[in-house]
Symmetry: C2
Subunit: 373 residues, 2 copies
């Protein structure tokens, strides 16, 4: 089985590492000659919109998938005429655009935050009349890790926003004072079978995921069911194949769908050691038409992102039951360079293990205290 992956970052890296034991072969397409996957798989260096590069990339592949959701929809469609592309390009098109995503949630009666669509920042006043303040302006396209988002609290913020916002289309969302963010990693196979990991608690700083706790604590069975039901609705409506992540806000015992990602997701990295089958293996099983693997968690896991700088490797590995994942990228502020997963038989044992992490991790950025409180 030869699998092509659009995008050559850490998600592609971890997909390949999960697929090699299954005898799969990989080829990547990435615009950067520095993409980390170059060390572990053949790679075509070229733009995602370059038909010549796409052609070279697709030659001889059995299936193509993406680790990056901002691949041009046209390119995905062009590839789909030549080779199986999973998840289907229509899912990519929906997930690339916050407005389409919101409209899909609405159509499927999945609760989401109230929103208004703006063709440019000039429509802000009308939108705010509808939604009220505080609110969040989000670009319809290309937002990630908190980029392309602005919180508006006061009429002054709105006035300032009209000056500084780029000239593009937005969605304005009501600001939700949620209790916590939960996400679900779901997977759907070629014949429509589905599997779900337990909901995970996510902690962010500056818009970037810092820590995921899996499984999430004190999740009522109806909350897990609601998340799975939302995921199934989305998966079936898009005739989806592969892993899909949906992020929710939890508020007053209810879930509001925030956004989705048509790919393996940072809040699912804990599954490498913390679940019977990882999200990466399950994505590959799904797109290859193989049976899905068990999503049962093994104890409690905390996944901690390493952003911008790396700790001393030996100090991290000296902590019992700690698993280090480095992505082979050059350090740069705000860049995801790796992650650490701690696993323990229970969440209490997990939290007590935090104390043995080196001082590097005991800064507020890592949310080790945040998650415990």
């Amino acid at each position: 089985m030869s699998i092509g992956i659009l995008g050559g970052g850490q998600l592609g890296y971890m997909l390949a590492l999960a697929g090699y034991p299954l005898g799969m072969r990989f080829r990547f397409l990435d615009p950067s000659p520095e993409a980390p996957v170059g060390r572990i798989a053949p790679r075509v260096t070229g733009d995602f919109a370059d038909r010549g590069a796409l052609d070279k990339f697709a030659n001889g592949l059995q299936v193509v998938t993406y680790e990056f959701e901002n691949v041009p929809f046209d390119s995905a469609q062009w590839l789909a005429k030549r080779v199986s592309v999973y998840p289907p390009p229509a899912a990519l098109e929906t997930a690339q655009d916050r407005l389409r995503e919101k409209q899909l949630f609405e159509k499927l009666k999945i609760p989401t935050t109230p929103y208004a669509s703006l063709s440019s920042a000039y429509d802000l006043d009308t939108a705010i009349k509808k939604i009220g303040l505080p609110a969040v302006v989000k670009t319809r396209r290309m937002g990630y890790d908190g980029k392309g988002q602005w919180v508006l609290k006061t009429p002054e913020d709105v006035k300032a926003a009209k000056e500084i916002l780029p000239k593009q289309a937005f969605v304005l969302e009501k600001f939700v004072a949620f209790e916590r963010e939960l996400s679900i990693i779901a997977v759907r196979g070629k014949s429509g079978e589905t599997a779900f990991y337990p909901l995970v608690e996510n902690y962010h700083r500056e818009g970037i995921l810092r820590l995921s706790l899996a499984p999430a604590r004190s999740v009522a069975p109806e909350i897990q069911r609601a998340a799975e039901y939302a995921a199934v609705q989305v998966l079936d409506s898009l005739n989806y194949v592969g892993v899909l992540a949906i992020e929710f806000f939890e508020l007053d015992g209810e879930l509001l769908a925030n956004e989705m990602a048509p790919r393996v997701h940072n809040s699912g990295h804990w599954t490498i050691e913390g679940a019977v089958t990882s999200q990466f293996e399950n994505h590959l099983r799904a797109i290859s038409g193989l049976p899905l693997g068990q999503t049962t968690p093994i104890g409690a896991s905390a996944m901690i992102n390493l952003i911008g700088e790396l700790p001393d490797m030996a100090e991290v590995l000296a902590v019992p039951s700690t698993h280090l994942h480095l992505y082979g990228k050059e350090p740069r502020p705000g860049r995801k360079l790796g992650h650490v997963t701690l696993r323990a038989p229970s969440v209490d044992r997990l939290f007590s293990r935090f104390a043995s992490l080196p001082p590097f991790f005991h800064r507020p950025d890592f949310c080790l205290d945040g998650v415990k409180s």
Copy 2:
């Protein structure tokens, strides 16, 4: 950290897959242009004795290790003058020669089977006078997977052996009607710290390992201690760095050391899913001077070798808690093509799961019944 590995088979393949998440880079040397590692790492194709190839291979590496113990000792020594080589070449020299291995066990007072050394098959009669029948003739060098071994039961066997045995040096060992074969995977770091996985039960057919059950059942604490003590003696005496495997015969509540392997070992493959840290990661941690990882098992595991032919992949993956590892080699009789690891919370649950394996596995070769009886 750039690591060179001599040998490009499945052990090297699994070492690289364990090292990539730690940010390690790998280069392989293997005489075959078909070596499976070629898909996942740069590789120099050349003979292990070819100084030009060795030079090209070693250039820029921080450490060299082996996944194959029949690398010429001279080559290991030559490399050790240029780059750190772990385990030390002296360990390789001992493990390559059954006589040296036996002499080391004797020197360290590690119980082993009675034996005699023969410079050729012509000395058989003298050796048999010392050891008695039944006995096993083993070539001093290059034996593996039951190759280079002949069981002698009767004087007629001895007579025939003198005719057919190749002209080389042998060891004659007393044939031991052992109750079971146990092995220990041990690891020693650069500063002398050691860690041990629990003893494993091994089941062979035609001299090839078919199934390992981990941890071994009903192991008295003094048996585990005896195995660890034997391993520590060998590790310390050789100033060893890396993973070492020792196989033992269990007989009347005692262990007899049978042989050792100066590398990661087939009876340790279960550690990928069945232990907190795999033997592969621990070998890499050791040779890189990093702290050793926990060797604690997670439930009970059965590792089943796939030899000569492969089952239907989808049927295997449909069995819950089953992990498939394919080595990317062309099927050939007697060749190790992959392995399957089943994991369960207890050995009873593990055995009951055997029933869900597809018919392919329910042949005596796989020892599924053998291990249960």
